[in-house]
Symmetry: D3
Subunit: 239 residues, 6 copies
């Protein structure tokens, strides 16, 4: 029995509210239960130096967490003077995930920077970030299309993410904080709209897991991400 | 004529929504027109080392801005590896302003940290932060009172802040970003509920200002802050 | 009664010795009583990148304090690895104050950097720095004039600064360290030679101050700065 | 056909030379083909502060690369002033992998720090590091056993790692640099001696991969790691 | 012929003015020609952690240079965020040199920190710093003696320093900046009052030097330092 | 009697193994007894900005130490976030020593970076680094010659280094760690193949040393370096 009463293959209530940052070229507020992440997309016409002059665009991401997104206050990284290893690991994952579905030639020599800032953290902030960042990125691409900044349609597929884990011996979908802090295994999956894998990261927190358990987690992730992609489609279709 | 059509002594629509960060001991979302700041208060039972063993509490503040709070993306301070001089100047101002109305003996050996994170910036983020932080701090003090963590009532008075400036030759109240970027003079005032001055910071951006103009700015600030304190009272009374 | 025996509207003995740093384009040693600051002006023909190509010059300042300028040793900022928030706040103030009286077009695409290094600190180091930096800047501008580096006369007015405060209930002019550490209110004023305000920064250290007290502090500052400007004129006229 | 002529399920020549750092409590030089990593284990009787007083030990890892381990010189991280995100990600992975097979109670309040320094890099440095670090850690644990520093046998199982990937459409085992830089998918697997999963990290570099491809990569990893564990056993048995 | 017209074995005019930093426990302004260094000594009753509880004192030094001590402005190290390698090398040298003549047992568990700040640089700043720092340290030790903070007389001998070099083929004593920037060889010598060597650092800037030249430089240094020690004695005797 | 049983003028067994880093343009592993340093030379066709456009090349060095090169683990500088003063001092010494024997005009506008990484430290790591770096640099220059990247023969002479010291009252050659930690005086000498001095650095660790002792140390260094240069010649002749 999960603390939230959810079925083992049930994701939390997920909502995506578009256009929440009126000064950004794309934005949304994504919620997975109590976890809330503000995702903004910024279009820049300058590329990082190493990327220039190849006729290709670039998509990158940064991740942050407000100090009181958590149950006890987390030290501000700007005060600490650097981003933690965890933050860097997450923002590299978000960037890779989005780049996997973008046609860089169609994007032209433009850069889109995704900022994912966690307003409230209750588990699954990185997977919520990826799922929301895709919507903010899509908005920014609409914005570029209207201004004829593109060389084609850069969106090759959807991308979304969810976590799964083995909680008290049972594989479950979309861990919240309570489950996550107790889970034997924690795995994050990033899949495309067509059901292919972009990223899989599984870690045995306590006990190493078997090939059988891994197969079950994969099945749960496929189901959950299909639902998230449907939601993305509904939200973006409404524009 | 002001770009917003406001009268010269008219503040923007100001709202304060309490309890927006459920994991924090106090919080509010304060809006001055389009400027929106999320203020949270964190109660800690440990003091900074230099403050220990004196029977006194401490109140401090940190300030941040989401990258897309602004019209073009602002670099994340955690990536830059340090807080800018401007950020440090603002957070020191917020801290000083709040400490001016708190009885540190009554607070006991506890610390309250105020985090002011700007979700959208349209001028006046530091004065909105002070005005909102007082509400978050008050909530945190209610929370401490319920848990008998206090040695008395630490709130000696209200504190709120507003900016004034000389815009196209006319002293005006509560500059928005459009006015601020063009103003000859920009001044920030922090006053108590009883109308006394905690802080005054006036800077001639273009032309030095006269003693007469200074007197007019002071008058506008007194009017505006009285209105803000009324709003704080209404919002806190509703608890 | 002030610890120094001065009248409430009396500034300390102020001296400005020119040409103390023979390798600099401008320099002076300014003393307000025991407070001594070495001010140097460096002329550079290169501008910061963001300022280039606009036909305008730039004036900026840096501030430092020798470790034993103070009663107990202060940690060297170069060892700490960064300038403190206080240092940055002060050097931004010095820079803004000087820029308020400089015609950037007349300066041409040149930069003048003012370095204010405190040899001994007894209160009022930032106001002494501004008052002295104006003299060093003036010397550097003479130096540039002789070499025909200017497009006109960039000095539009004098600028000087003084602190005032409420000490044991009485508004007094030019706080020394003993007074400053005990004052209820501490205010810094930067005014031009023609008596206009460039900057006003007042902070209630203990008790918030009234509008009446503020008016008295303003009056004291006007008197003190007029005297400082007379001294600047005498010192610069002697060149 | 692989550039090296290896079969798709064939790992490179792997050797592990023990005792190469005579001043360390444990050490080995592990080679996967041309990739060579020097692994040392340092026993410390002090724990990190957050770990003290619980009767538990700690195992952690640091990773580095000599500047000319690579085809063109890589900037030294000590000169850059920080470890890259990639370095932090790798050293966290090494630490987690080793902790998964260690009984922290049996280790007692001791810490073992594994340093993995890449002398030559030809792909698979993180998986070679894990495989070698286990041997260095085992040596250090023998060393502790001889000195009666343990509360039991802390080694619960072996742990080793290998990479797999989809190279020109074919799933292959143990990518070298040439294959890695061209592979569509790159996955790292960490498994125990009993064939359970400690970590799985798969990333689609170019094309997202299918569930079928993922299953084949898993099969290759299981085969390769079984061979690596056999080698670890042989090398450690010879002690 | 030297640019200054000095004989090859002639040092510049050297003066040492005591007591220039009234808030410090010891201080002097040392001048070697145009090179001027402000040396202060700070007595602290706390030791660095690694030095505590051994009944021994500690002497250390820090070195800095004002931005306009030089012909063109030098970037402030506090702004750069760190001390340069050159600064660290110099301050380690000053500290080592002073410690060589101090009896740490007699000093008791006290620390003396010497700050050497260059007001004007014309070659030989490190050797002037050592020569002056000894005087400031001696003053601080008088100050400690008066307060009975010592366990004996910690000054075992004098210490002073001078540079020598091969300038246009001729070994010369006490290089100024003009000579230094052209010299083939630059050597710094630190000797005690009794003529023993504490430190010798010789570097071939252009051409490697012969054993014969080295012997001549040693002779010059012995002569120059004897004169400096005489001056130190005269200055300190006048106390 | 020396702990190692060596005669006072006897260096340790020294070996230099070439070509140990196959991806570098030059490399060797140099051993002085147990001290082992991996030296690599990297050829870059880009110069540091301040060196460009003068028709001259540049040679520079970086130094590092693996954490377990030492008896107890040394903190990794990349983790500490900066190179220690000691590291910077050493790498500046290595760079200066090599530049003293290189004709920068003949090198053309190329840069060679020497990396000296200590695998095991038993005293004399800086002198071993210089001795080995010369061999790696020579290899890199052969490599450049084969590719016609040079404007002449840049090697003007050999360069090698050794330490000497006063151990229990006797001047001895090539201190190992045991001797070094106890020596009264520690001196490093860098000489050319023709017996001229490039650098001499002598420090009294405990007792200041006499002119007589200095002369004896110089004699030992001359003998030892002659042997090292012979070894360099033998090793390089074998190419």
């Amino acid at each position: 029995m999960r603390p939230s009463g959810r079925a083992s293959d049930q994701i939390r209530d997920v909502t995506i509210e578009r256009g929440v940052a009126p000064q950004a070229e794309g934005s949304c507020l994504v919620s997975f239960g109590r976890t809330r992440v503000l995702c903004t997309a910024s279009v820049e016409t300058s590329l990082p130096p190493w990327r220039r002059g190849q006729g290709l665009g670039w998509v990158t991401a940064e991740y942050g967490m407000l100090p009181r997104a958590t149950g006890s206050r987390t030290r501000r990284e700007a005060t600490a003077g650097k981003q933690s290893g965890r933050t860097q690991e997450i923002q590299r994952l978000i960037g890779r995930s989005l780049r996997a579905v973008i046609d860089m030639q169609a994007l032209g020599e433009n850069q889109v920077i995704l900022d994912c800032d966690v307003l409230e953290a209750d588990g699954g902030t990185r997977t919520a970030s990826i799922t929301g960042a895709f919507v903010a990125l899509s908005e920014a691409i609409f914005w570029m299309k209207e201004r004829s900044l593109l060389k084609g349609d850069p969106i090759r597929d959807h991308v979304a993410a969810v976590s799964c884990g083995v909680y008290r011996g049972t594989p479950v979908l979309d861990l919240d904080y309570l489950e996550d802090s107790e889970a034997d295994t924690d795995a994050n999956f990033v899949l495309t709209g067509s059901g292919k894998f972009v990223e899989i990261q599984g870690t045995a927190e306590a006990e190493p897991f078997s090939a059988q358990e891994l197969a079950e987690l994969i099945g749960l992730a496929e189901k959950g991400i299909a639902e998230l992609v449907d939601l993305q489609r509904a939200v973006l279709g409404a524009s």
